[in-house]
Symmetry: C3
Amino acid sequence: MTDSVESRLAAAGHQLPTLGAPIAAYVPTVLAGDMLYISGQVCQADGAIIKGRLGEDMDVAAGMAAAQSCGLFLIAQMKAALGDLARVKRIVKLGAFINSTADFTQQPQVANGTSELMILAFGDAGRHARSAVGVPTLPLGAAVEVDAIVEVHR
Amino acid sequence: MTDSVESRLAAAGHQLPTLGAPIAAYVPTVLAGDMLYISGQVCQADGAIIKGRLGEDMDVAAGMAAAQSCGLFLIAQMKAALGDLARVKRIVKLGAFINSTADFTQQPQVANGTSELMILAFGDAGRHARSAVGVPTLPLGAAVEVDAIVEVHR
Amino acid sequence: MTDSVESRLAAAGHQLPTLGAPIAAYVPTVLAGDMLYISGQVCQADGAIIKGRLGEDMDVAAGMAAAQSCGLFLIAQMKAALGDLARVKRIVKLGAFINSTADFTQQPQVANGTSELMILAFGDAGRHARSAVGVPTLPLGAAVEVDAIVEVHR
């Protein structure tokens, strides 16, 4: 196998999703210097948004799975932008927004769905800074949205 | 005309707003290397905050207009920081926060009010990465707040 | 005294907190080039999360104190990552998330608790860009979470 990131993902049962067009007037990634900025990726499975709100109709395990799907889309965006995932030098920062009721406070556990995927895929280069906050609603009713900043090899 | 960005905006009926002082203990922009970080700009018209909440007392069209005003303030901040808008190399990332009820899910459409203005003003250099999320409330009751990261020519 | 930042803080009665491990699968800081990205720091005092929601069970003064504790943790993370706070060149950007009811709109005043501490500690180098938004809930019930981007001397 030529791409160790994808082979690690495949060994864990993950496959990179097919990317659609952004749902609005922006682009999925911008490379500025050696930093790749990735637009917020909403959770999706089988081509449909994973809808839900933590503390209401989605439990932590389902939230983590939703967050994991955001991570797969982030990695798919890296591949689309860079051509080769070996160009990823470091996952620098994730911004995780968790659709939450006012009394749900386990955003860190949910966001771990994305974070643990990054470490699985990239090893130490996947260890990132992060913020995780609750929000009352997300685009299209999505349960989780995560954006990212990635340092790349030129 | 010496500034093509402002002439494009003027041709579309837009005028850059006059900037006031930040409402708190921070500065509107910081230039670090060739990246300009712009503080969150709340929507304003005629010197007053545009108040409202999507899904409650403001519809998508009004939300887009509010978001557009955030964009005009972002561009005015770029001009104040850089002197000449020709120094804008790329709009890299927008972070859009939309004052929303829990059942409003069209944050992308609202945020397009800012995004489309950036493309109008800067063309391909205005195409940016973006996150757009709902929030339950914003400073001074504003409907929309948008911050930005901009790559500049030194 | 060898560290003027810490001596300024001490003169104002502040002491840098002891850092615990992150509560999830991420790291507290990532240095990419000359930019240090710091994970969201939740407010803490005496080793416990400061819980609360502005507009409900916490007033602006208590919110500012909570935000100030986030600032102390941000500075402690800078010291842990850089070894010497004299390597801080500029506080570039703060992202402040304030646990708020839907009718609380004084997020800027609350976030000033962090911002004013940065100016106290670093002087003009502490003057930063910022966004401050309301959120309905935060990890572990925290009242305030703030992340940061800091430019460093190599």
